[in-house]
C-alpha cells in the first residue's frame, strides 16, 4: 500500500499540468488533482490488475474536471463569443481568405521540440475562456461533441462554432509565432 501511495504521488505533477491546461485556474486544478489522488488511494483495489497507473488516474481526473466545469457553470455562464469578428478578420465579404494559409514546412518535426509545445500552450492561454473550454474538452480530454454541448449547455451548432473558432485562432497563432512566413 505504501508503494502504491508513492507511485500515485509521483503522478501528481503530470495530473496538475493536465488539469491546469483544461481548467486554467490553479486552485481548481489543485482541488481536482487532490480529489483524484484521494479517490485513487481509497479505490486502490479497483486498480489491481490494470497495467497503466497514469491512464487510470487520468480517467478519474477527467471526472473531477467535469465536476469543476459544472460547478463553474453554475456560478454564471460565460458570454457568447462573437464569431463575426474572427470571420471578418479572416475572410473578405465574398468569403475568400484575406491572407490564405500557406504551407507549414515539416510540422511533425516540431512535435518533438519542447519550445514548440511551449508556444502551443501560450496560444491556448490566449483563447477566450469558453472557446478554450470547448476545444480542450474535445482535443485534450477527447470528448465527443455531444457531451461537450451538454456540459457547456449550448446547442450543437454553437459547439461547432466554438471549436472552429479555437482551431482558426490557434492556427493563426502558430503561424505567427512558430511557422513564420
Amino acid at each position: 500500500m505504501e508503494d502504491f501511495r508513492t507511485r500515485v504521488e509521483a503522478e501528481r505533477p503530470y495530473l496538475l499540468r493536465y488539469a491546469g491546461r483544461q481548467l486554467r485556474d490553479g486552485h481548481a486544478a489543485e482541488d481536482a488533482v487532490q480529489e483524484t489522488l484521494l479517490a485513487a488511494l481509497a479505490g486502490a483495489a479497483a486498480f489491481a490488475g490494470r497495467s497503466n497507473l497514469r491512464t487510470w488516474l487520468t480517467g478519474i481526473l477527467k471526472h473531477k474536471i467535469i465536476d469543476a466545469i459544472r460547478r463553474a457553470r453554475r456560478d454564471g455562464p460565460a458570454p457568447d463569443p462573437d464569431i463575426a469578428d474572427l470571420d471578418s478578420a479572416l475572410y473578405d465579404e465574398r468569403g475568400h481568405w484575406v491572407d490564405p494559409p500557406s504551407a507549414w514546412p515539416d510540422p511533425d518535426a516540431s512535435l518533438e521540440q519542447r519550445q514548440f509545445l511551449a508556444v502551443l500552450e501560450r496560444c491556448l492561454e490566449r483563447l477566450p475562456a469558453k472557446t478554450a473550454q470547448a476545444f480542450m474538452m474535445r482535443e485534450h480530454m477527447g470528448f465527443e461533441t455531444g457531451e461537450i454541448c451538454k456540459e457547456l449547455g449550448v446547442t450543437a451548432t454553437h459547439c461547432w462554432v466554438l471549436l472552429y473558432r479555437a482551431r482558426a485562432a490557434l492556427r493563426e497563432c502558430l503561424q505567427a509565432n512558430w511557422f513564420q512566413k
Binding site: Y14, R17, Y18, R21, D87, L90, Y91, R94, G95, H96, W97, P100, P101, S102, A103, W104, P107, D108, S110, L111, F116, L117, L120, E121, R138, E139, H140, T145, A156, C159, W160, L163, Y164, R167, A168, L170, R171, L174
Partner: protein
Amino acid sequence: MIFPSCKEVSHLVSQGLDRRLGFGERVRLRAHLAICDGCTNFKRQVEFLRKAMLRLGSE
C-alpha cells in the same frame, strides 16, 4: 450552395473533425479543396493541431 466559399469550407473542415459530414457536404468540400491551396493548408493544419494536442496531453 454549389460553390462554397473558403469561409464555408473552413467551417466544414473543422466540423469534419467533430461529426460525420453528409454526402453533399463531402462532395462540395472535395471539389473546393481540389482547387484551393489556402483551404487545403487550413485542413492539414487543423489536423496537425489535433496531433499536437495529443502530444501535449502526454507531457
